[in-house]
Amino acid sequence: MNWIVHQLWLIPALPFLAAGVLALTPRRQRAFAARLAISALAVSLALSCAAFVATLGHAGTGTFRERVNFTWFQFGDQALRLGWVLDPLAAVMLVMVSFVGLLIFIYSVGYMAHDANFTRFFCFLALFAGAMLGLVIANSLLLLFVCWELVGLASYLLIGFWFHKPEAAAAAKKAFITTRIGDVALFLGMLWLYSAGGTLLFYDAGEGCLENAALARIAGPSLVGWGTLVGISLLIFGGAIGKSGQLPLHVWLPDAMEGPTPVSALIHAATMVAAGVFLVARVFPLMKPDWPSLAGGIPLAGTPPPDATLAITWVGAITAVFAALIAVAQTDIKRILAYSTVSQLGYMFLGLGVGGVAVGMFHLLTHACFKALLFLGAGSVIHGCHDEQDIRRMGGLRRPMPVTFATYAVGMMALSGVPLLFSGFWSKDEILHAAHGWAGSRIPFYLGLFGALLTAFYMTRQMVYVFFGQRRAASTPPAAASGIRHPASGEPHESPLVMTVPLAILAVSAIVLGFLGTPAWPWLQTYLGADHGGSGGVELAKLLTKETLWLMAISTAVVTAGIGLAWRWYGQRPITDAGTPDPLQMSFPAAFRWLRQKFFVDEFYAATVIRAHAAWARFSDLLDAWLWGGLVLAVHFLTQGLSWASRFFDEYVVNLGFDAACRRLRRDGAFAAGLSDGKLQNYLRGIGTAFACLLVLLLWGGCR
């Protein structure tokens, strides 16, 4: 086993350690903080590269997969084991995360230079990176979940980094809670998997839950078992939905723009949202079990029953279009990118659903590069425009910010899928190709095409708004404009080198990365273990098959159409005033309103889920106060009533009766005492009378 496998834990541990140290570092140690975080991640990157190289050596001889498992703790006489795994999937993610992360770290030094909480920022960044790296190497769903939650925590801390802004605080909360909805699903899926499969380790010498033995144990020779498998998969996918901002849990992602821009870049490119896609890729054997190998003893073998990829595909495809539509009408530079991310994540899930791990991961990797590029570029723009985020008040930035413009253009073209040269084209084409060949339905394919059109459209719109035309900063913004807090002041300027160099590096990789997975040389696919039937070498012939060419032509046409439409609407008549309504708005006011308001999803949630929760909370409180409290009160009053009744009985019945008897006795006694008045002769009279009466009685009564 390679030495790097044993030392793999160092990759996440170093950033974690840096985060721990920085948490205890005084605020004024700014340089130290930046240096520590960056060097920790740099070492991680180096180790990741080493790991990556280690996996390369075995590329030809089947899938490289090494793991180290260890006991975390014991409960009763059972052991709970965790572990890490090094396989191509992990290796490539490691390199991507640490690479993009490192660039973002470096960029942050410039971007956050003036922030008071600089040290804290790097602490959180390091935590974020560490958690993500840990998630990548996890060989246990539990460890993955742990890191998954830490990623959530870090995103919470970073989105709410400017916590004094109420929007940021609210956005952080929203992000955490929305993703936690998914997390609960993932948690339940994990529990189910644990109880059904008996282990949470992914790979454990044939006994891991992603290996056939365990899968067969879960699925069993029945449809019920198959249902269990699909149920677990769907729950785990639920976690991915939350984390990767898919419908219907996408609402947090645009709001997460409240964090500093490097954070947005980190979240959208390398870490948080990628985690969901990575999770699905990691547990893909669970999502799409190998039917024949499991169905060995199943009588109803034949066409495999539907599995979780069906849901993944549809969710992905719908999200891709849905988010792209919203992105068309946004005016905040970061929000456009945010919705673009949601849309692209939809593509990734679509790719995972229809084409498997390699397809989805390819797009994840390329997207990570160009989305990081775009976000950092947007950050550079914002930085250069003095914290201006509204694209309507930018314009003409081409000249003052040439480097940013150039790199941004590369990113935009990669995202739009401009043919041949840019990575986005290849990875998106790969997805469309797979969708075209999908057995289930042709609709995801068309949705994907439509999404590509929209992507090209909104990215062009954004480019035109930001970089072309003329500056519109001076004019007053429309009243409806959102997200504007810092009016621009002064002239825009190019960002310092510490920010532009990462941009340049990312731009290069945004172009180069695409060539790792072209149909002609599907290296990445082979590396990730997808079966393409190719030899692994360069085969130009593959590129020239009829189907591939046809698809490439269609997607080229679509992209051209998107760019052309946008150029016709926005580019030809430069918008001169920030207050001018959007041309699209003038053409389709009703539809535009829906898009601008993001299909009213937030409002819908506010009216349903949030209100329901508030009502439920109030109901619980009232239940406490009235029903339970009332019951207690009722018991209280009942007891009190009983006491009153008993007191009443005592005082007015028993006591009163007794008193009456006593008083009567006393009165009669007084009367009797009055009779004996102390006068001797009265007594004597009594005796005499009595004697006489007695005698008379005797005489009459006849005592014979």
Binding site: Q681, G688, T689, A692, L695, L699
Partner: protein
């Protein structure tokens, strides 16, 4: 009905009435003496000489004299203008009358009394016999009576002793 009886009875009753009704206590005491003599005469008529003399000695000689002394000691002898009787005295008389009436009626109407024909006059026991009986048959009652008399004597003596001067003046009634 012989004259002796009538005279004795009449004297006795008349003296008794006088004793109970006269205003002056000394007179009352004297009339009481006459009454006792009358009773003693009646005892003689009934053949109980010893009792008759005992009656004279005790009642006339001791009791009547005691009453006179008490009257003098309590200075009730003088005739005062205050009412004699306990109010309402008519009730007292009525009650007394009722009692007499009841007794007389019962005596008169009783069929249990021995008739004259069944009268057996036993020979009155001589004083000697009486003394023997007292010393034999009735010795225990005699002793008790002796005791009683002693107790009465001591009691009267104690009561009659002049008490030490009370520290506080006697409360006015």
């Amino acid at each position: 009905m012989d004259a002796a009886f009538l005279i004795a009875a009449g004297l006795t009753l008349a003296a008794a009435v006088a004793a109970m009704s006269l205003r002056n206590l000394i007179h009352c005491a004297l009339c009481l003496v006459v009454t006792f003599f009358g009773v003693a005469a009646l005892f003689l008529l009934l053949g109980a000489e010893f009792v008759s003399f005992a009656q004279v000695m005790v009642y006339v000689g001791a009791i009547a004299i005691l009453i006179v002394f008490a009257t003098l000691l309590t200075r009730s002898a003088g005739v005062t203008g205050e009412p004699l009787a306990f109010q309402p005295w008519l009730v007292g008389l009525g009650i007394a009358g009722l009692v007499v009436g009841a007794i007389v009626t019962s005596v008169a109407g009783s069929g249990l009394l021995p008739t004259e024909s069944s009268r057996i006059v036993a020979a009155a026991p001589s004083t000697r016999e009486l003394g023997e009986q007292l010393m034999s048959t009735y010795v225990l009652p005699l002793e008790v009576v002796g005791l009683l008399l002693t107790a009465a004597l001591i009691g009267a003596a104690v009561l009659g002793l002049r008490e030490p001067k009370p520290s506080t003046p006697p409360p006015k009634p």
